[in-house]
Symmetry: C2
Subunit: 422 residues, 2 copies
């Protein structure tokens, strides 16, 4: 099922081919790109049998290597998930194409016309692990934003990804766009990732998705600019004036609704003057939902059904039904704790105090800072972006949930009529 | 004259101190920051004698080491240049403060309020060489945009920079802002640059300014995100329909007005059907202005007063009164040449053909693409930014002339009233 053209080219040639194809994608109209996405949605559903067969080979190999049940689940593609992928691709059709948007413009005093317009990056590289759905997701987003994409999806999903990439390439070609706009470097193993990270001039931006250690490696080793989609050690601070109902509802929602994602709550900080009033209800509710609570001494004085928190807990992203609780003396102590342990993803305060709310919003240096809302709102769909490229925890280029515009750059168009500079 | 606090702290402590100070700068009001800039303008003029004495030591050391006359000129600070620096600092007072600007905002369907606002990066690192004026320029821009700054200005200007940094720090303190917001790591030599490049979490963004090799080193070695302000192998393509007067005026302006800067013209491409018509006037005019012309064979057939161009010329940024000329068969050949040799800074077409103008604008993948205008317009002041941080040749975060907003990041402020995600 895998297209023959995906396997014959050595790595450097694939990058060059992607670069060449990116020039075509960059000039493609929105209508052309949408036709490609529709063809992809059709192709992955029609090719579902082949995808599932390849995926089964990955799963068998994974089980032989003893990968965890959670990892097996992430790796699995069944008919339902493939249908879901096709729906996600069709959702991208509905998103506004950012390419060509005029960001700003003006005339110089002498009448030279300046326009800053959105253009595709060119070639987007993606490095991820054991998530074949990302292959389709990121390719769809890249294509809609006029970019070619080079994928390194990891050995655990290599068979699944090879079939999916073949389908993506054929779908592009079926609408007259270059199949070379989607490339995989999976067969080259670790060397493939290394070469992607050093392909300055061929890859314009690299997006790592996966474990903290994968992201850290890419950030450290890549000479290609990276958009870091980081881990979330996410805090909620229950201020002295926190409304009890809001505290219970928001903490439950932030921790329990989907504990395995990066916007899920990991640490509750609580003002010492509120601890006795709010913690029993907040933590009691969490216990009813099966959450294991790591509490510091002062918190365990007002709620006993806990395990003792250790230093390591404050920097732990549990990603499961566990969380840490600490009593702090005041807002300043909460801000200091967050400054020290937050990964700069999302942090929230529950308060009824305007001054404290404003200070928290101003002083917490995170991508998303919230007052009286669940940290689960940090999400591209919730922000109205239609699709999410990831959640950036870096400060350069993009911060917080990224939509399609974050997969573009800009360029300046300057129009004169013989103008020279004075 | 150098403030004692600039020399006692070891490097890591300076970075930590800068980070701490950045929190204060981030919350400073525009009025406070403007008072600091006024104090800086006053301080460098009042301290001019000390600056000039230190600069003289740098110049003597430089001459002993046999640095070029051009480098000596870049290094020199006299009273006129110091006055000019003070004027530049006061110009920054007049620029709009980007911090706190609302970039966009909306409400979710359930009424959660989302606002994306501009915030300072935090700590900006600058690595540059033998340009003490950059010390003041970049510090003023950083302060106005609410950032702390860590400077590595190179050994050649170490004495000048030490005195300037002392003045900057005192000026900040005189208006109640932390002097620690300006740090130098010059005394630590190459190790200082290395540590800056690896100070993830302490330095938020690194801006190298200087030679291509300096920038290349920083891009390759830095794990801190870099904004690349790159070299300019800048092209003007004289299309078949190029207006002769415009061609002569624009080429002269682009090459001769200030040959040592990155937006100066380096290579003329000319349509073969226009070569005999336009080259004699265009190149004759350049020769009258003392420009040495490296021409390919076909160009030298219509204009003889040249030296033969060699392959290396096409990728050379002369930065002096030299330039390369090549005759190409058509627009496609011009686009291919630019694709291969341009550094992606600025490229222009002189044409009277709408279709060719549009193709050139769409297909040339450079930060600034021009029709019928001088490449010298690629400049922050010309673009109306009030001051220029540099000209970015990368695609991430900023592309083309950078103003103050490019020295900021954003964060999302989310306000609910007990909202949880469905």
């Amino acid at each position: 099922m895998s297209s023959p053209t995906t396997t014959v080219l050595p790595l450097a040639d694939r990058l060059t081919a992607a670069k060449r194809a990116s020039r075509v994608l960059a000039q493609a109209t929105t209508a052309q790109k949408n036709r490609a996405l529709e063809a992809i949605a059709v192709a992955i559903v029609e090719g579902a049998d082949a995808v599932i067969a390849a995926n089964e080979r990955d799963l068998v190999a994974g089980r032989e290597q003893g990968i965890s049940v959670g990892l097996q689940d992430r790796l699995r593609l069944d008919r339902g998930r493939i249908d879901g992928l096709a729906v996600a691709v069709r959702d991208v059709i509905a998103i506004v194409d950012p390419v060509g948007q005029v960001v700003r413009g003006s005339n110089t005093p002498d009448g030279v016309k300046l326009e800053q317009v959105r253009v595709p990056f060119g070639v987007v590289g993606a490095i991820y692990e054991a998530r074949p759905n990302v292959t389709v997701d990121i390719a769809a987003l890249a294509i809609k934003s006029g970019n070619a994409v080079v994928l390194r999806g990891g050995s655990a999903a290599a068979h699944s990804n090879a079939v999916l990439v073949g389908l993506l390439r054929s779908a592009l070609e079926s609408v007259g766009l270059p199949g070379d706009a989607v490339q995989t470097v999976d067969e080259f193993g670790r060397d493939g990732a290394k070469q992607l990270m050093n392909a300055r001039g061929l890859i314009d931006v690299l997006i790592p998705r996966g474990s903290a250690s994968l992201i850290e490696t890419v950030v450290r080793e890549s000479t290609v600019p990276v958009i870091e989609t980081g881990a979330g050690v996410v805090h909620v601070f229950l201020d002295e004036s926190a409304e009890l109902d809001w505290a219970v509802d928001i903490v439950r929602n932030a921790k329990v609704q989907r504990p395995s994602v990066c916007n899920a709550l990991e640490t509750i900080l609580v003002h010492r003057a509120a601890a006795a009033r709010v913690l029993p209800a907040v933590l009691g509710d969490l216990r009813e939902h099966g959450v294991l609570i790591h509490a510091d001494e002062r918190a365990s004085e007002v709620f006993a059904d806990v395990v003792p928190a250790v230093e390591e807990d404050w920097s732990t992203e549990h990603m499961s039904l566990e969380l840490s609780v600490r009593v702090v003396d005041d807002l300043d102590a909460a801000l200091e704790h967050i400054d020290r342990y937050s990964t700069g993803h999302t942090d929230a305060i529950i308060t009824n105090d305007v001054v404290n709310a404003d200070r928290f919003l101003a002083e917490v240096d995170s991508a998303v800072v919230m007052v009286n809302a669940s940290t689960r709102f940090t999400d591209g769909a919730e922000f109205g972006f239609g699709a999410e490229v990831g959640i950036s925890t870096q400060k350069l280029h993009a911060r917080g949930p990224m939509g399609l515009p974050e997969l573009t750059s800009t360029k300046w168009l300057v129009r004169g009529s013989g103008h020279t500079r004075r």
